[in-house]
Subunit: 194 residues, 2 copies
DNA sequence: AATAAATGTTAATCTAGTTTAACATCATTT
DNA sequence: AAATGATGTTAAACTAGATTAACATTTATT
């Protein structure tokens, strides 16, 4: 498997020397999952941070009534982990499941701690990654607040046009926090609006 | 003004040598704001990350209809900034306004970049701070999804009992994403539930 | 090709939360 | 003490989105 997508991604944030790259590459694991396999399950301790080389995942939780709620999708060049579980090494609130056959690069908790010591620049990298993740999450809170379901759907479709093609509609409804029936209604309204 | 609360806070995450502490203290600014003053306004570029020594702030945005939506409150030992604006140095989406007279310690963007070079441990500190902020934000998304307004209010009251005493009810309604009238209704329901 | 399973749509009824508007209480200023 | 502005409550009418249930379409399996 090629590590190039990860190295390209990293280069956007920090410059690594060839030695630092070598240390990094020695500490990561590549892994393939089949469609429907779980990378993390609710209650597990999330032991890895995962960078997606190919494929697509959903992060979701199941509430007391057995209802599934999708928090995020991740595709190529994105990260996919239960960060809360990972940083505190306590049981995960979320499941991460593959929606397609998926190739990942995994940073394990223990290896990452060593990596931070051997390549301090990686603290900077993961600081920046987390900053961006935080800002994205905060934007989602804002969207939830101020947009109707219809507006949120249109925003989602415009922001992630590729994801909409790749995953079933009922999962998009779950991501938006609405029922699949109401998403259907919204879509037929949008067609009539034209 | 005492820097002790900041140093105590930092000690929970990283150990600084006396020299590192000295560098840190030389690069921070302390600032007092009066009640109702703005630390950041929507459209400004957020130039500082702020640690609260005393007081209370709200972060909010104003939508096209002029409606105010509160994203978070911050009190002593918390941070208060528009991180999205700060990290990209682009115009802020949010306002931050003091709800009481407030004392802050400010890290300016330029000083922080220098600090990261002179005291690399601070990359680690801010990575950890941001990780926690991200997890908190993600939990808020989950709450929005899975709890009714009543449940969200009870959760808020249990999680931040002190904040509820300090800020007016209509701001709590705004934080919860409901109207003040509906919060009133919820509160009278809770009294009857007993 | 036939069947089953998964996904998507439509429509009727229902409910959590909004809107509007009137009134009540509390705090601040004169 | 009166008056003003800020905050909080109640109730009636309304709406966005949920629920239920029946049916349609697509995909996978035999």
């Amino acid at each position: 498997m090629s590590y190039q997508p990860l190295l390209d991604y990293i280069k956007k944030h920090v410059d690594l020397t060839p030695e630092e790259k070598a240390i990094l590459l020695s500490k990561i694991i590549d892994r393939r999952y089949l469609k429907n396999q779980y990378i993390v399950q609710q209650g597990d301790i999330c032991k890895t941070i995962n960078f997606i080389i190919a494929g697509c995942t959903k992060m979701f939780y199941v509430d007391e009534e057995g209802q599934e709620h999708i928090i995020m999708f991740s595709v190529e060049d994105w990260w996919s982990s239960d960060l809360g579980s990972f940083i505190t090494q306590t049981p995960a609130d979320f499941n991460i499941q593959c929606l397609e056959n998926t190739q990942l690069i995994q940073f394990s908790y223990d290896h990452l701690e060593v990596l931070y010591k051997e390549v301090p620049k990686l603290e900077r990298l993961f600081r920046k990654i987390t900053e961006r993740a935080f800002v994205a999450s905060q934007k989602r809170v804002v969207r939830n607040f101020s947009l109707s379901a219809k507006e949120q759907y249109v925003t989602f479709r415009n922001t992630y046009p590729k994801i909409e093609q790749r995953v079933p509609q009922y999962m998009i409804a779950s991501y938006l926090g609405i029922t699949k029936e109401f998403l259907s209604k919204i879509k037929s309204q949008l067609i009539q609006d034209q």
